[in-house]
Symmetry: D2
């Protein structure tokens, strides 16, 4: 699988590092915003030798057409900002290159455009693209269906300076049709990130808990999303859509 990556900020760098180390993936290039950067490839930047060094480009050097022509990929992974898809979207869709975007938010106008692109190629958009958090959300919805009478609490822990409620916690609340205001927010020291969904029953509790160790978790999630999306038909998908088929566990020992 050949990958082109948009975005080389803190998350983008972590994702690039995972992609470069993945055996069945070829990180062809990374597209940065600004031009000046002392390293020419991801492998040089990370100090890791690799057959596919992951060339580092900047937007001013390329047109989208030129980029995809000279450096063809199967999937674009986007960890940049809402604007980038304007640069590469049409050209990617036209060549049936799949798109995996982890951009936090798109204005309605751009979102419409993405829906249009999704008729020509496969597009997956998920603001939190880790496997863990998205699995948690689906599992929590299952348990809510089983036991709608149980009490649910969402607790999130992050580093002291993180402002407001975590976006991921808000998404979990929306997904479980809960009030955002009920989220319990813990802020202390350098906690990377922890989300817990607690189900309280009269005589037992179930806790579904996700702990982030580092940003590289986004890399594994993006890789999983990219591989999965290449197997489905055109359309707009969320991370949940991709995980959903795994919830069809085979029947275990039912008899008839």
């Amino acid at each position: 699988m050949r990958v082109g990556l948009f975005g080389f900020g803190r998350a983008g760098k972590a994702v690039a590092s995972v992609l470069l180390r993945s055996r069945d993936t070829q990180l062809c290039w990374v597209m940065r915003k600004s031009k000046n950067f002392q390293y020419k490839s991801v492998s040089e930047f990370l100090g890791v030798s690799s057959d596919d060094p992951g060339l580092i480009f900047s937007k001013s050097e390329w047109t989208a057409a030129g980029l995809f022509e000279h450096h063809p990929v199967d999937v674009v992974i986007d960890f940049s900002s809402a604007n980038s898809i304007g640069f590469y979207g049409n050209e990617a869709a036209g060549r049936n290159v799949a798109i995996v975007s982890a951009v936090s938010e798109y204005p309605p106008k751009i979102l419409k455009r993405i829906q249009a692109l999704a008729s020509k190629t496969r597009v997956l958009w998920s603001p939190n693209i880790t496997i863990g958090v998205n699995f948690l959300m689906l599992a929590a919805r299952v348990l809510r269906n089983i036991a709608p009478y149980s009490d649910v609490e969402i607790i999130e822990e992050h580093f002291k300076d993180k402002p407001g409620i975590s976006g991921t916690a808000k998404r979990i609340a929306t997904f479980l049709e809960m009030d955002e205001a009920s989220i319990k927010t813990i802020r202390a020291g350098g906690i990377v990130g922890c989300h817990e969904i607690l189900f309280g029953f009269p005589f037992q509790t179930v806790r579904l808990k996700h702990e982030s160790i580092s940003r590289e978790a986004f890399g594994n999630g993006a890789l999983f999303a990219a591989k999965s999306i290449l197997k489905v038909k055109n359309g707009l998908y969320s991370m949940e859509d991709i995980l959903l088929p795994y919830f069809k566990v085979r029947t275990l020992k039912s008899c008839s």
Copy 2:
């Protein structure tokens, strides 16, 4: 729903207490092993007034035919021992009374007989009949399918004097095709019971955790099992079979 309960040990009493308090359930009778008991009904024993007092019987007072004739029920819930089903099984199946058994273990001979009964009525057998633990097992299997490369650890905590590895932890291990020997066993003080399935990813962890508060959790699970089983066709079911349909989460926002 009219219920008859076999078994009035520590678990049986807790289950009876939940059944008596449930509004849409009628606890008709409880069958004890021995004859001498100073209380005549569950409501008297618990000091709770109730329209359906839950009469307390002993096996020596009844034949199965007489019991089901004079005190008809829709479901038998069995928290006694492996022998009881020999007493009530045929008679219950013949009248199409559903059977929910939480007996820990059945010898192969009796198990065969149960399979035969399951052609005439609905039978659910689950040694740990809590909603929480069985949900955990299914959710864990889903995550294993999504991420077969992740490391899984099973950790169980119980009171100091509990001998050996917990039966529930063993069942989880079997269900996840893991080696029983890898279960980590914590024994301290009066911990009622805690099971954690930990998934370790390179850059994140997911923890699925169940904590028991008291034995009454079995009552809620048995009630859930009894209600669910009345809606399915004849056959032998596990608790997982009953929870499985809830894992078919509706598609979220997939477009085509």
Copy 3:
């Protein structure tokens, strides 16, 4: 050690059960508010045989002088309400009987009276009398002294219907000179009670966590308090005062 217990509500009964089972303690009597009670002793009520049955009295049957004269004790343990000490205080102090009170709150007027009693006997008053919570508070104060720059969060979990912030969490906050408003409150299902004090450092976290399994924990705490207080001189003590000496850990391997 001969003990008399005031209060036979839910906490009082649990405490009585622990006292009755303790080998080196003699539960002489329990004083209830109201007269009518079908059981004459704690051992009969609990269905446990014991050399010292723990007679059950009601206040209307006795004067304090008569009570201590005919049924002398070394310690009074008080799990009743603020008024009881008016009944037994003077008489107990006059006979140098120690007093251990777990009453939630005393009005200032009664508190003054208690301070006066404390010049004649040993009095310990602690609204949450478990060993665990009081140890936690002291340990947390130690860590705050070591690392005043760390971020502290107090998180408490209780059953759904518990109103307001837990009194114990408020006490922890006061003890650590933190704002009560910063306590995070989780309410779900039947959680008995859990208090966590989280210390966030830039690159590590420390969590001090107390989980209640049942009310009997008060019994062990009261027993510990009663035994400890018999060894100190007259005065008014808190549970912390009694635990404090244990924080003087011997020097380990310092050389000079």
Copy 4:
């Protein structure tokens, strides 16, 4: 406080980063084993501007006498290996420069030499130099003294590939006079490091838990150790010795 650092491996680099960012500390130099290194200072290596750049030296460039003469420091912090103290020990002790060593293990012969050095200067040696873990050990010992009858379990979690039982867990076990074999070892994914000491009481549990976020935690611990040791007289200290005075919490509201 002027600091010289021995060791520039993974832990050493993390420590250097903390020292460079500390306001009241001056990282004068770092001593590496090998000569070839493309960066001349820690600030250049980390890409952080600083008044005190933290020069990077190698042992072959210096004698100990020359080093301390031309680049005087108040404290040596040692995150290298057992041999280094042979290079700098005598010279440091002769100039009354304090020594803080986080070397994992010293052979008996070198340990004897360290004890001799400790008669001429202050030496602190602690294989795990975080504040959190050492606080945990002392707090656990306090609780063991309060409740010797409680059940204690040590649980440690680390990344999949960590071989054997964690050294820190072993130290905790030794410190609490427990059998090393009873430590529960969890290995999964990329968990940085977690140590829990669980106290089980009949009706409550207390959990003391330390989670590492990153190696920089050693930096804060070393800084704390260095500052503390400058205030004490000559001798050999452990991290516990330095934390011990903080366990003398003032009496709270005891009256007489």
